[in-house]
């Protein structure tokens, strides 16, 4: 509702990105004293951070540090896991996505997510995979109407040229890297404002990884991107901001260049110089 009000004030039609989303200095997402549990185990401990619009924010840290849990809290996917529990706030447009009257499903439509392993729906064609976020939220939709959207999304995900002649083939007929870009296209198709990528390259070969990295740099023009990666070089290459997590705590959060050249915390330094465990 706040969103629609903003729309009315700016007088823009919904066909364009709202003005504020293009404001690079703006904070898109604010995490406030967020803690998360799996059953009795606390995986994220009182983390607060602000995520800039139209930038790539990377979360790094040794495995088990809570970085995946943290990113899953950002679009309320954590509560889907067994025993997943969350306290604290995540503010989108200044509004808590964990608020009482907020529905997790509509949060996820504004904050998209791509997982570690490609999750193309095996029973759907490439076309239907991309359109699934739309098809499965409406009672019916016309194929012609979706055509343009699918093409647009696949182009944004840099996959269009490779699949435009075989849109009716099964989504899982693609290679792993292509499937991962298909998942990105699928996430883009629902027009989220933020894209969360949970180790999107860890299951991919170097060439596919490079393609995804290029793609990230491309889509950050329109979206706010948060990426979890276990690969420090990847964080250093693509991200604008980097957060270092250890044992569920946010140790350091700074512009990437700064974090990798002059880390303030000893533990960060140990980790990025490879002296860590």
């Amino acid at each position: 509702m706040l969103y629609e009000m903003t729309n009315n004030i700016t007088g823009r039609s919904t066909t364009e990105k709202p003005l504020y989303a293009r404001d690079k200095s703006r904070y898109m997402l604010e995490v406030v004293r967020l803690s998360a549990w799996y059953g009795k185990m606390k995986a994220v401990n009182e983390i607060s951070m602000k995520i800039k619009a139209q930038a790539i924010t990377a979360l790094i840290g040794p495995s088990g540090c809570g970085k995946s849990t943290l990113i899953r809290c950002m679009n309320r996917m954590h509560e889907v896991s067994d025993g997943g529990k969350v306290s604290g706030q995540v503010l989108l447009d200044g509004r808590d996505i964990y608020g009482k009257d907020v529905d997790a499903v509509s949060v996820r439509r504004r904050i998209g997510m791509v997982f570690q392993k490609p999750t193309a729906f095996p029973t759907m064609s490439i076309f239907d995979n991309v359109a699934s976020g739309i098809n499965l939220t409406r009672l019916w939709s016309r194929k012609g109407e979706l055509q343009e959207l699918v093409e647009h999304s696949l182009k944004k995900a840099a996959l269009w040229e490779e699949v435009k002649d075989k849109l009716n083939r099964s989504g899982v007929s693609l290679s792993g890297g292509q499937q991962q870009r298909l998942c990105i296209a699928r996430a883009i198709a629902i027009e989220p404002e933020i894209l969360l990528l949970d180790e999107p390259c860890s299951a991919l070969d170097p060439i596919s990884t490079l393609k995804i990295e290029e793609l990230m740099l491309e889509i950050k023009k329109d979206y706010t991107v948060v990426i979890v990666t276990h690969n420090m070089q990847q964080a250093a290459r693509v991200s604008d901001f980097t957060g270092f997590l250890l044992l569920g705590e946010l140790i350091e959060f700074a512009p990437t260049k700064e974090l990798f050249s002059i880390p303030h915390d000893k533990r960060t330094e140990d980790y990025i110089t490879g002296r860590f465990g």
Partner: protein, 280 residues
Amino acid sequence: MSESGSLRRKWTNRIMLILCGCAAGLCILILALIVGYTIANGISYFNIDFLTNVSKPVGEVGGGMRDEIYGTFILVGLASLIALPVGLMAGIYLAEFGSPAVASVVRFIADILAGVPSIVVGVFAYALLVRPMHSYSALSAGVALAIIMIPVVARTAEEAMRLVPNSMREAALALGINRWRAVLGVIMPGALTGIITGIMLAVARIAGETAPLIFTALGSAFGVQGLNQPIGALPLQIYRYALSPYPDWQQQAWAAAFLLMILVLGINIVVRTVSRRKSM
């Protein structure tokens, strides 16, 4: 001493392993005997007349089982019509929506229901429908078969949906898809092979069920007349004819058994081969 001990161990080993092999061989031999006899005895009477003629009184040659074949299809269709919605929806509840505590109770009861002897289900259908309606009927038989089918369909549908990786569920939810749409649009299609396998195996099972039909469908000498009237069925006719003292009817029982066996084993073989290939 140790020499003879090791020799004895060697021979015990050999003999026991051979016996185990023989046991498995015996099972397959029994299958071969039953299938072989059914084919050998059934095929001689099995012809177009058998499929297209209605049953005739003793002494008249050329009786067939058209009405019973038709009746079996009607009963299986009727049972499926009742059991599929209930079984599938219950399966969805167990796999996707149920709270763990409630789901485990329902699951337990479904397993209990699946273990109820089919003759008891028949008595239930009799007491529930035949007695109040004062007539044996196709409907009561369909209900009895449906009760046998429901837990099977529910549990296999549940198992099939559980086999769909959780990552698919999460991927759908992360797209902002509601759970019920995710279930219908992503989970169910992913589990379709397993679900169809379960349904077909349940169909094969009830197609051969006899016990619950004896005092619900009863059998009919006048063909298929309606759902509130008695109806004939292939397995029922096999039972009646097999116990009759007339060689001609016994012949027909074998022919009907041959047909029923082709139907039931055919479904089993096709479904299992397809689902096995798919799963590999």
